[in-house]
């Protein structure tokens, strides 16, 4: 681990610790009632209960989390594949972008949750409705981000390879690398969006299995189990943060992080 990355890690840990201390202080101060703000110790207990094998599956937060994350990740992967394909095609030529961009911008402006009831009916209230809503919400984000990245790829570099007579295979590889930074940016944007949509759709309509973070949060809210509600918030937040850190680390490893700074 380099000195810089160790320093970043220490700062991140300090920020988390400060946030936790503030939360604890607010919860214990009594300024905000327990029905609105759970005590972090109670939340930790609720999370610890997730590892209790004696507890029924429905009572374990992590069982719900697994189901929700699988839905979110499935939608995210499909959206990435579809969105990147659309984005690369859209960014290939300026006229293609001019033609296609309004369509994708329009789709991005429409809240995907509006399509959820239709998809529920179309897919007989099954899992594809949840995944499909995530895909609909993420594809425009990915497509537009990747298309802009492709349009903004360095002309100097592609021209240089043409002048030097570099083989097509190498030129194709460098073209892929040129668009990779925008793919990573799109992946990070879409990941947080997919988590949001997954939880919201589960809150709107509980999946048949009944196993879903959104459904658990809704139940906890209605029965004033604030500690469970906050446990859901913590799990979603931690997963989103961890996934972002992993994607950034891969980006750094590939040397793509500084791609727009030169």
């Amino acid at each position: 681990m380099t000195k810089g990355s160790a320093g970043r890690l220490a700062l991140a840990a300090a920020t988390f610790a400060a946030g936790l201390a503030l939360w604890l202080a607010l919860a214990r101060s009594g300024w905000i009632g327990r029905t609105l703000l759970a005590d972090p110790i109670d939340v930790a207990r609720a999370l610890a209960g997730a590892f209790d094998p004696a507890a029924p599956p429905g009572a374990r937060v992590l069982v719900h989390a697994e189901a929700t994350l699988v839905r979110a990740l499935a939608g995210w992967v499909i959206a990435l594949l579809v969105g990147m394909g659309c984005g690369v095609a859209l960014g290939a030529r300026a006229w293609a972008y001019v033609l296609g961009e309004p369509l994708f911008e329009l789709a991005r402006a429409v809240p995907p949750i509006l399509a959820f009831p239709l998809l529920l009916v179309a897919f007989d209230f099954g899992e594809p409705a949840y995944v499909g809503t995530i895909v609909l919400g993420c594809v425009p984000i990915v497509a537009i981000t990747v298309a802009r990245g492709r349009l903004g790829a360095s002309r100097e570099r592609s021209e240089l390879l043409a002048v030097f007579g570099v083989p097509r295979s190498v030129r194709a590889l460098t073209a892929i690398m040129e668009v990779m930074p925008s793919c990573f940016l799109a992946a990070r944007l879409a990941l947080s969006t997919s988590l949001v949509i997954a939880v919201v759709t589960e809150m709107v309509f509980t999946p048949r299995s009944g196993i879903a973070l959104g459904a658990l949060a809704k139940e906890a809210q209605m029965s004033f189990e604030t500690d469970v509600y906050f446990a859901v918030v913590v799990v979603v937040g931690l997963f989103g943060y961890a996934a972002n850190v992993v994607l950034r680390a891969v980006e750094r490893r590939l040397g793509l992080e500084r791609s727009t700074s030169t």
Binding site: R157, L160, F164, G165, M177, M180, R258
Partner: protein, 276 residues
Amino acid sequence: MAGEREQPAEPLTLRRVAASHAAARVVVSASFEVAAGEIVGLAGPNGCGKSTLLRTVAGLHPCERGEVVLPRSRTPAGVARVALVPQGYAQSFWPWASLRSGIALAASGSGRGWYRSAAARAQSLRAELALDLDLGLRPYQCSGGMLQQAALLRALAAFASGPEVLLADEPFSALDVDVARRARAALRRFVRERGVRALVVLHDVESLVETCDRVLVIDGKPWSTDGASEGVSTARMVLNARLGSRRPDGDADAAAPTTSSFGDAMARVLGAGPHP
């Protein structure tokens, strides 16, 4: 020894080349040759079409009329090895690759083992050119001057026996005085020894005098080396100055006629006399 190799005799030839920039014709008719081992400089005011002409020769810009004839190559493909030092040198390196890898990428068309051999060539040329450059750095870790040195190094190291045609757009603009002097001397030596035809856009007089065998001083736009030809009566003249009197290794020679103030001024500064 590179200097002992048989020099291919064919020049880089431009015949009545016409090119436009932003829908305006800037080069009406450019006809000249660049011989093997010769460096021809293009000088002139901003926007007169120097870079446009260079890009046209590189095949990056449409040649609207006339033709650019590259010398025949002794490579199996028969295609002349053309190397470019672009004006946008800072953007011409890949952020995810070290300078060494960026140089090697440009060499990937030169057969098996291209990466290792190009990296080795870059390393040895770096020493030969006395460039103070760490090839393991990424572009964002480099200054503009370092990137410009790397761009020059890439152009010279991309092919096993050097490029046959070298096109460079202001290749010394970001270098400090000492490095620029070393780079100019090294470029001259390289071009001479390996019979490269070099067409170089330069702005400052010192670079022109120290680098070029011959300079085309362009007097404005649109311009033509053939005078007011091709039905364009407003075409500006071009001073074709062969440098020599001020150059330690050059021959004193003459210049083609010109009438313009810029051309005259450049001729005076360059010490090139009028055509006899």
